[in-house]
């Protein structure tokens, strides 16, 4: 009985491995993002990849075309008040 259970257990264990492997994501297969944390330092292992990922997703935005002119106009008002 004991032998049988042990054998069954081994069979299950052996049989489980491919099932676990099958659970790997079937989604996008492109470049992997590594957000792993070093458990000793609690720092991101691949800081460069994390920062590239952030920068790719939060790209610089163009400021309104009149923003600099508006700033300069405000400063001219300040100068005029002081003069």
């Amino acid at each position: 009985m004991s032998f049988s259970n042990s054998r069954k257990s081994n069979q299950n264990r052996n049989h489980q491995l491919p099932e676990v492997a099958d659970r790997q994501p079937a989604g996008p297969t492109g470049e992997c993002l590594d957000l792993s944390i070093d458990p000793n330092t609690e720092e991101i292992k691949n800081l460069d990849a994390y920062q590239v990922f952030l920068k790719r997703n939060l790209k610089p935005l163009a400021a309104p075309v009149d923003l600099l002119a508006n700033i300069q106009a405000r400063l001219a008002e300040i100068d005029a008040q002081k003069a």
């Binding site: 491995l17 676990v20 492997a21 659970r23 790997q24 994501p25 079937a26 989604g27 996008p28 297969t29 492109g30 470049e31 992997c32 993002l33 590594d34 957000l35 792993s36 944390i37 070093d38 458990p39 609690e42 720092e43 991101i44 990849a49 994390y50 920062q51 590239v52 990922f53 952030l54 920068k55 790719r56 997703n57 939060l58 610089p60 935005l61 163009a62 400021a63 309104p64 923003l67 600099l68 508006n70 700033i71 405000r74 400063l75 300040i78 100068d79 002081k82």
Partner: protein, 193 residues
Amino acid sequence: MALDNRERIFKLEMQEHYQIVYNFLYRMCGNGADAADLTQETFVRAYVKIDQYESGTNARAWLFRLAKNLFINDYRKKSRRGERELDERVAYNQRDETHSMAGFTDLRIAGAMESDFSDEIVKAMALLKDNNRAIIIMADLYDFSEKEIAKAMDLKLNTVKSTIRRARLALIKCLSAYAEDTYGIVNTRNLGA
């Protein structure tokens, strides 16, 4: 300070940073119109307070400090949000509970480098406290060193380091939940590889 000297320093050292200050404030407040208004106010404040700036030092960092203070002290008080803020201290302290840290020690997200996470990053960042969001934006989007951030924000270096560590962990925690639902997570340790 004489007017011509004030103008000279402003034009030579400040003005060129208006785009990046606008972007920083956009990431802080989340909309273009308010970011433009705040950028104007930041540069007006910089012009008025230019005596406090040491010419030839880090103008960009000084402007970020003014912008951050303006955002928190003026803008935020006027539009106090009722949203729940993620307390990244809590997220950080919970890392050992239910083995949450274990999930981060080998966390790879398939295909994520080429996928659009922008909305989720914005949402996750919005949950950080304002001061901490400012620090993480400076560190991770604009490549300020920890020393520069400490000096600009008048914080101790260790405070900046621990804030960055906690905020990154909190961000990753938010993003990993989204990624797991959307893309699946490749975690070789959990797969026994």
